[in-house]
Amino acid sequence: MIFSYRLRRNAVKIEGERSSALDLARGRLVLMGGFFILMYIVFAVRAFDLAVIQGRAISADNGATVELSAMEGSEDAPGTLPADIARRGDITDRNGALLATTLRTASLFADPHLISDTARAAGGLAKIFPDISYGEILQKLQSDKRFVWISRNLSPEQQYSVLELGEPGLEFKHAYQRFYPQGALGSHLVGYADVDGRGLAGIERGFNNYLNSGETLRLSLDMRLQHALRREMTAVIDEFSAIGGAGLIMDVTNGDILAGVSLPDFNPHRAGEALETEVFNRLTLGAYEMGSVFKIFSIAAFFETHDVGMNTTFDTRDPIRIGRFTIRDYHAENRILTIPEVFMYSSNIGSALMGRAVGTENLQNFYEDLALTTPLDFEVREVARPMVPSPWREVNTLTASYGHGVATTPVQTISAVASVVNGGYLIKPRLVLAEDEGKASTDVRVVSEKTSNKMRELLRLVVTAGTGKNADVAGYRVGGKTGTAEKIINGRYDGNKKISSFVGVFPMDAPRYAVFIMIDEPKGTKRTYGYATGGWVAAPAVSRVIASMVAILGIPPSSPDSPENAYGQDLKQYVSAGKGEH
């Protein structure tokens, strides 16, 4: 501008038409010059910005940035899931202990072409992964491929160590993986999901969509009780060389399942490799003839249909012959028994006679009301269809009275027991913790208050004086019923293959918890004089589970001389001094 100004002053004054043309040219020149100067300034500022301002910012968090980009991986946005997919929700037990969660894991792969120093890299990696040998890594790193896996699902420490190697040819691939911190504990109820986050079994399957929307699910399980139950069942299965078992702990007031164990169990991280017998959920998929445990239901049905006292007697001296069937007693008393005696000595003949008195239609309806013979309605969707005789003849009524010829699942059995003892309200088993914890799960009445009270006293009698003595825990008024059923092998009952079970309820004067343990094919031991019945096998295990439960839940015992401790002892007047039981 200064230049153009001088130009003007020194120039010869040109007038007229030419002068205006010159002015125009000059103006354009200035405009152009101004434009270029402006651009230079812009470029200079931008260059200064890139070189100095931003350059300093980058060098300031250089280390962090490099680590960050390496940790995040290149194939997806840093640390985020695609916006439309929520991370699969967690599953916790009632106390918030984590049962299933989704973790972001990194797997290490190498591009051998980019490895700068193969020997050094292999040496470093061999130190980080002790389970892979130096030679093995060296071989992988010198291959001609552009992609070789080194190790999957690294722990954060391993990831960090790999980054410290500073080898450009090593990269991470990230994935989301379902992780089960409790391992096999509770695996049958929690279930498992595949690598794509699809629930394949248990709660993972039953609540697949809910979990995939990112919601957390709280179950009614208590992992402490779950462990106690599993520990005692494992011990019993070992002692009696059994092939498996099923166990449940239920809150009889609302149907909450506090623990559910099916053995053998499996590692949910390796569910695909588990044996079929391990993955099989005996709790809901196994339908079993429960044996004498069913006498709880047939006698309750008898009380419902006959308003009689406990002194009603049944002649159990002779086996019942019906068609080609003969019904005998296992713990034979060979005399006339009162109702308490029938129950405490677990007389098949006595219960069959009661079943006959109840009548086929009544008994069928009663079992159906207790949800024993209809498919289980439950949050875990893998359920078995109970097996009922078809057609149902009179002989089936008699055998169903002592738990043969009718097969149902352990979950249904414990729910029906809960319904009978809790005052008579139908219990629907539930595994997902309800908002209103205290509320009963249904208000449908299945037996009268009176019948429920009678059954409580009878159940207590079995433990104080009958076949379930081994189940008692002093101060906790345990009641219960033993069950021993022969398994059907090739269409016939096999006397050597049994299912021995015990269902215990406590405290019997105001029932709160039911514990059911069923052991598959126990073999008698020297200690049990060769016996492998419910009273020898399952009852002691239930006793130990209850002993653990009261310590975990902090339930105080009653004192020996308190009135509730004498609960149900009035019934002893109906028990004559028989020859006792095994």
Binding site: L98, N153, Q177, Q182, H269, G475, I552
Partner: protein, 161 residues
């Protein structure tokens, strides 16, 4: 020459100034956006770490493991039902004048340490504890125990895409 009017200089200066201000602002925005991204990423990363640590914590707190460790290293077992305080139990009342002496008494011997009274299904391991203090790392480790890293490693594998 219209262009060289002082007002033009002023306008020019203002354009340059506002240009510089604009540049400065846009730089600031970019930088702050960068900071935000890296903070968000690091929050995300920390959250992942928290999840991982929680999973490990829960894994280490498995009742089975705690029970085993308590038995091996602390010689403790769960209380048996007989040792629980009964529901009708009340602390014996102490007469007013004795109350102080009861709490001040220091000569009273410590209660005897009762071992193995509680229910312990595997008493052998409690007895087998060496009498001399052996540092925990020298005790034989349980063979079934898997480290958290090993557990992670056994998660089902996703095929490379």
């Amino acid at each position: 020459m219209k262009l060289l009017k002082p007002v033009n200089f002023v306008i020019f200066a203002m354009v340059a100034l506002s240009g510089a201000a604009l540049l400065h602002t846009s730089q600031n925005v970019q930088r702050v956006e960068g900071d935000l991204r890296s903070l968000e990423a690091s929050v995300q990363r920390e959250n992942e770490k928290v999840r991982l640590l929680r999973a490990e914590w829960e894994n280490l707190n498995r009742p089975e493991r705690l029970e085993r460790l308590a038995r091996e290293f602390l010689d403790l077992a769960a209380p048996a039902p007989e040792t629980l305080v009964r529901e009708d139990f009340v602390l014996p009342a102490v007469p007013e004048d004795e109350a102080e002496s009861v709490f001040m008494e220091e000569a009273a011997p410590p209660p005897p340490v009762v071992r193995d009274v509680a229910y312990a299904p595997e008493r052998k391991s409690a007895r087998a504890l060496p009498q001399k203090a052996v540092p925990p790392e020298k005790l034989p480790a349980a063979k079934a125990e898997k480290t958290f890293g090993e557990l992670l490693g056994e998660l089902s594998e996703r095929r490379p895409q």
